[in-house]
């Protein structure tokens, strides 16, 4: 069974691009979701094994999604263009040092997900 990756990204073109890369890397893409509500609904309906989160989603942030994922024990990757110091999602991540699943990517430049 292929690993199912939830993709959360509000910039649709970027989302499609990343989705394509995830798919080409051999994963199943859940989404992409462009808002917190859609992401939360997708987690509830379809679940996921891994998540790729953009931090700023229009007027909201991915923080509530991260909380769900933590509660489920689902690892996630944060993809952001903003500095970690101004990113609450990153700076408050309690497992950031110990959680082997947590990695931080800056975007751009794009990092390979493979």
């Amino acid at each position: 069974m292929t690993t199912r990756v939830l993709l959360v990204e509000d910039e649709v073109l970027v989302a499609l691009d990343i989705a394509q890369q995830i798919a080409e890397a051999g994963f199943e893409v859940i989404g992409p979701a462009t808002s917190v509500a859609k992401a939360v609904a997708l987690i509830a309906e379809r679940g996921c094994d891994l998540a790729v989160l953009d931090v700023n989603l229009g007027h909201e942030t991915a923080e509530p999604i991260a909380e769900r994922l933590r509660a489920r024990g689902t690892p996630f990757v944060v993809l952001t263009a903003i500095r970690p110091s101004s990113c609450r999602l990153v700076s408050t991540e309690p497992q950031s040092c110990r959680n082997p699943h947590f990695r931080l990517f800056y975007w751009p430049p794009c990092s390979s997900l493979a």
């Binding site: 073109l13 970027v14 691009d17 462009t34 700023n56 903003i82 751009p108």
Partner: protein, 535 residues
């Protein structure tokens, strides 16, 4: 004339000693101390000589006249205290002469002593004169009587002269005093004028300073170094809703200005203490106004020193910088937003590059450039509208600029005025670019006859926005052999972004693209009403 009756032994300066002949150029004595002029008139020189002898006195100056003519001549050139006049004279008599003298204004008051014989009826005539200025003596003249009478007239004249002099002096004094008073009055007037002008100019300058002081939107006041309020300008009083007399004389920190902001009173008190010690205090602080608004103020307490450097006043000022602050915050927000957006754009460009490279590597550079240019065109429009949304027809014209000759001929545009939100404008811009590129390569715009019709509309009841791109009359359409970036944009992207449905029909007569999505996803909030009414 009886010489025997002359007193003996009386010193005499000789017959001619005290006398002077008539001299028209003789000087008129002007002071009371000078000899008194007496004109003696007799046709008999001997009699004149007798008179001279009798009246020989350094106090007298006798002028002889032997006829009425000589007498008149003498009277013309000199002033006389007394006339001694013989009545009986050939030609003009003494009476006639006296009459002439009395008629002349200048000499009318000169006293006259007539000399007349006892037996003569002249006496009656003389009594007829009856005036104090005229007297008579009977001949032969008794020297003592003559001297006594002359002395009286001389004394009278002298007194009169003195009186005149005194009077003249008095008049001089009065007039010089009047002159002095006049000068004083003029000086006073000038001074008053100066005072008036100075007052007026002071008032003007005061009015001007007042106008600045009361006209400025800055809140201003004046404090003594202990913080007692002496002055507050109109802005400050209006802020507090107070009259000047209600606030003057009280400690500034107790003023209405600080009542609504907890802790402000203490801050002001400390600031005054610092300013009183000579420091300039300036800070920004939020404060609550009496009307309950919270505003930001640029507050300053500036010490004012006298020439010895002692602080004599403190000038407190406050400027409402709330709007500037908001503008600053807005700019900071904008900069953050610009940073975010530019990174976003880079992501989009990166995605376009990757997608273009993946789907049409053989013509990467032109396709990529076109897509970036289309992105730029949307951006220009959005920027021109200051991120306030873009009219859909403008967006269409911008992206169909390459085909502007065909507009309204082979490309028909139809729909109500509708303003797209910024993200929708970006997306629909990209879609239009892909559709137009496709049409020009394979579809209705690739030959000379094909047509494109673009329509949009709003269903107010369902709250749906629809847009349709229909091609016809072009070369027969073949479905694409693979799904490229373009179809990704016009279908997946549109559906994902707008929560809508896209129908893509590669009908042989021409491509049909149809979008339906919630109105809320595409409208610019300011313009829903217009689009809704017309849709």
């Amino acid at each position: 004339m009886d010489l025997n009756r002359l007193p003996l032994g009386r010193p005499s300066g000789g017959p001619a000693g005290g006398a002077a002949s008539v001299d028209p150029h003789a000087e008129v004595p002007s002071t009371g101390d000078a000899a008194i002029n007496i004109l003696i008139v007799d046709d008999e020189p001997k009699n004149l000589t007798v008179l001279e002898t009798v009246l020989d006195d350094p106090a007298y100056r006798l002028v002889r006249a032997e006829s009425a003519d000589q007498a008149l001549l003498a009277l013309l050139v000199e002033e006389f205290a007394l006339l001694i006049l013989d009545i009986r004279m050939p030609g003009v008599t003494g009476f006639e002469l006296a009459q002439m003298i009395k008629q002349r204004k200048k000499t009318s008051r000169v006293p006259i002593i007539f000399l007349t014989a006892y037996y003569n009826e002249d006496q009656h005539v003389l009594e007829g004169y009856g005036t104090g200025a005229v007297d008579y003596l009977l001949k032969p003249v008794a020297p003592a009587v003559l001297r006594s009478k002359v002395a009286i007239f001389a004394e009278l004249y002298k007194k009169q002269r003195e009186l005149e002099l005194a009077n003249r002096a008095l008049l001089d004094e009065v007039s010089s005093r009047r002159r002095a008073e006049e000068q004083l009055r003029k000086l006073n007037d000038t001074l008053e004028q100066h005072v008036f002008e100075r007052t007026a100019s002071l008032r003007l300058s005061e009015e001007r300073l007042r106008a600045i002081y009361d006209g400025t939107s800055e809140y201003m006041g004046l404090l003594t170094p202990d913080g007692t309020l002496c002055e507050a300008n109109r802005s400050a009083l209006e802020f507090a809703g107070s009259q000047l007399e209600d606030v003057v004389g009280f400690p500034f920190w107790e003023g209405v200005w600080f009542k609504f902001t907890p802790g402000a009173s203490d801050v002001v008190r400390q600031a005054i203490a610092l300013a009183a010690s000579g420091q300039q205090v300036r800070f920004e602080t939020p404060m609550t106004t009496p009307s309950g608004e919270t505003k930001t103020f640029d507050v300053s307490f500036r010490p004012i020193r006298d020439e010895r450097g002692k602080v004599i006043f403190i000038v407190p000022t406050a400027l409402d910088i709330t709007e500037r602050k908001h503008a600053d915050d807005h700019i900071r927000g904008l900069i953050k937003e610009v940073n975010h957006r530019s990174k976003n754009i880079l992501s989009v460009v990166q995605a376009i590059a990757r997608q273009t490279a993946a789907t049409s590597p053989e013509e990467f550079v032109p396709r990529f450039s076109e897509r970036v240019r289309a992105l730029a065109a949307s951006h220009d429009l959005i920027f021109q509208r200051q991120w306030q949304g873009v009219e859909i027809s403008e967006l269409l014209r911008a992206h169909l600029a390459l085909f502007k000759d065909l507009l309204d001929r082979r490309i028909l545009i139809e729909g109500p005025p509708f303003r797209l939100s910024v993200p929708a404008a970006q997306l629909i811009g990209m879609i239009l670019h892909e559709l137009a590129t496709n049409a020009s390569k394979y579809g209705a715009l690739s030959d000379q006859v094909g047509r494109v019709k673009i329509e949009w509309g709003v269903d107010r009841i369902d709250g749906r926005f629809t847009m349709i791109w229909v091609e016809c009359g072009g070369p027969p359409v073949l479905p694409p052999t693979r799904r490229g970036f373009g179809s990704n944009v016009i279908k997946s992207m549109a559906e994902l972004s707008l929560d809508g449905q896209v129908e893509l029909d590669f009908a042989p007569s021409g491509l049909i693209w149809r979008l339906a999505c919630p109105l809320i996803k595409v409208y610019d909030k300011g313009e829903i009403r217009v689009g809704g009414e017309q849709g």
